[in-house]
């Protein structure tokens, strides 16, 4: 036991493993967390100890937030930034402000690891769907495909044309809090192995009477760049980009320096050059050009030019372009559309 106590004391000093659930307009908080060495932003809630809820979470997304909350392994804790935990159905959560966030996280993390804090799950503890065997060998229904075992749909064969050379289609809904997707984006896919056969994108709009958020104090393009860098496995460079995003008076040389480090065939471009090109109005077809635009925009605002808000894109047009992509390619493609998708989550675009 003494060993475990000692281990817990060391673990309490580790970087806080944070899963971030992003609502609308939370880029500043995300950049804070990415930039800070005391925090590790995890890609999966299973790897976190603390869930951070930032930005405006619409009422429609509260149930999904509860599911993400329960995916963080217990003991866990939740910190809500500039929001009301009661409105989010997370009564045990700690409320804090953006300025005090990281200090609060370190405190909460230590409390969780040393066993002083444990937020209860908000969803039902047991699986909501009982397994009922009614077939002759205990299947869920007629034949082998009957029933929905444990509430999880199985990959379903198409009615015709199944030939064993293709994997059956797996229907899946992810989001709106999946860390690898832009915020407030829900994706419904039909997966065939690792290829998307069918895609539907939905944004979760803000509540009708939600207060208008103040203008974000960070450069959203650079935040998007940090997320993209993290997605291709360049977490260390993502820190640099996030730090630059939250620097109030960026120097244009710093932006140029960052660009020199990542804009090379053996840099970030190794991951984005080969992505499928897009055919969308108002969007650069080449994925590399899309993140170059963010850097160009950051450089121009650094010399005092006005910031141009990104144009929203029609989600159904984006979805049509994702069909046939590999999952990872689709995730990266969505990441290169992050500013546009964030804009369309607030003010949806009509497809042309």
């Amino acid at each position: 036991m003494a060993v475990m106590d000692r281990l817990r004391r060391v673990a309490a000093t580790a970087p806080v493993a944070v899963s971030v659930a992003l609502g609308h307009g939370a880029d500043a908080v995300l950049a804070d967390l990415r930039a800070d060495a005391r925090v590790d932003v995890t890609a999966s809630p299973r790897h976190a100890t603390v869930l951070v809820v930032a930005g405006h979470v619409p009422a429609a997304a509260v149930a999904a937030l509860g599911r993400v909350h329960d995916q963080v392994p217990a003991p866990r804790a939740t910190v809500v930034v500039d929001g009301d935990p009661a409105r989010l159905d997370l009564p045990a959560a700690t409320a804090t402000t953006r300025a005090a966030l990281v200090d609060e996280l370190v405190r909460v993390h230590a409390a969780v690891v040393t066993g002083q804090r444990h937020d209860s799950p908000v969803g039902p503890a047991d699986n909501p769907v009982d397994w009922q065997g009614i077939g002759p060998h205990g299947q869920g229904g007629e034949g082998m495909m009957g029933g929905v075992p444990w509430g999880r749909p199985m990959a379903m064969p198409p009615t015709v044309g199944r030939d064993g050379l293709a994997l059956d289609r797996l229907a899946l809904v992810v989001g709106p809090f999946l860390a690898v997707l832009p915020p407030m984006l829900e994706v419904e896919v039909g997966l065939q192995g690792d290829v998307l056969e069918e895609v539907e994108l939905r944004t979760v709009p803000p509540d009708p009477h939600a207060p208008t958020p103040p203008p974000t104090p960070v450069d959203s393009g650079l935040v998007a760049l940090a997320e993209l860098l993290a997605l291709v496995g360049l977490g260390a460079l993502a820190t640099t980009a996030a730090r630059l995003a939250r620097t109030p008076d960026r120097r244009v040389e710093d932006v140029a320096a960052l660009r020199r480090r990542i804009d090379r065939p053996w840099g970030l471009r190794l991951g984005t050059d080969d992505l499928d090109r897009l055919d969308l109005p108002g969007v650069a077809p080449d994925p590399t050009d899309r993140w170059r635009d963010w850097l160009a925009s950051a450089a121009s605002t650094a010399v005092g030019d006005a910031h141009h808000a990104p144009e929203p894109v029609a989600t159904d047009e984006v979805a049509a372009q994702l069909v046939g992509m590999e999952v990872g390619h689709a995730v990266l493609t969505l990441a290169t559309l992050r500013p546009q998708l964030a804009a369309s989550a607030v003010a949806p675009a009509v497809s042309s």
């Binding site: 015709v160 044309g161 199944r162 030939d163 064993g164 050379l165």
Partner: protein, 101 residues
């Protein structure tokens, strides 16, 4: 470890493979049964080579040929299963009890 024990082990594997081939309905599982049986054959060949050949390398070549048989069986077997599946949407022996239309 003698020739008898090695051959006994291979006999057990061959018997298990035979049982699998005869009892399974799914084509793919039947192929697994064949592979298990060939597994036993390869073990027997290696054992006979080790204890009765005096080091003649052609005994090992026989095992390599058995591996070839297994590779061919898997590839052609799967291709046949795919062809049958595409034509009949069946992957069990019962499903194609009548091969003619």
């Amino acid at each position: 470890m003698t020739i008898v024990t090695v051959l006994l082990a291979s006999a057990v594997l061959l018997g298990l493979g035979t049982w699998g081939v005869l009892s399974q309905q799914s084509f793919v599982m039947i192929m697994m049964g064949f592979e298990l049986a060939i597994n036993g054959v390869m073990l027997a060949a290696a054992g006979v080579w080790r204890f009765t050949s005096g080091g003649e390398p052609r005994g090992q070549v026989l095992v390599i040929v058995a591996m070839l048989v297994m590779a061919v069986e898997a590839a052609i077997g799967f291709a046949l299963v795919v062809a049958v599946y595409r034509a009949r949407q069946q992957d069990t022996t019962e499903g194609i009890a009548e091969l003619s239309r």
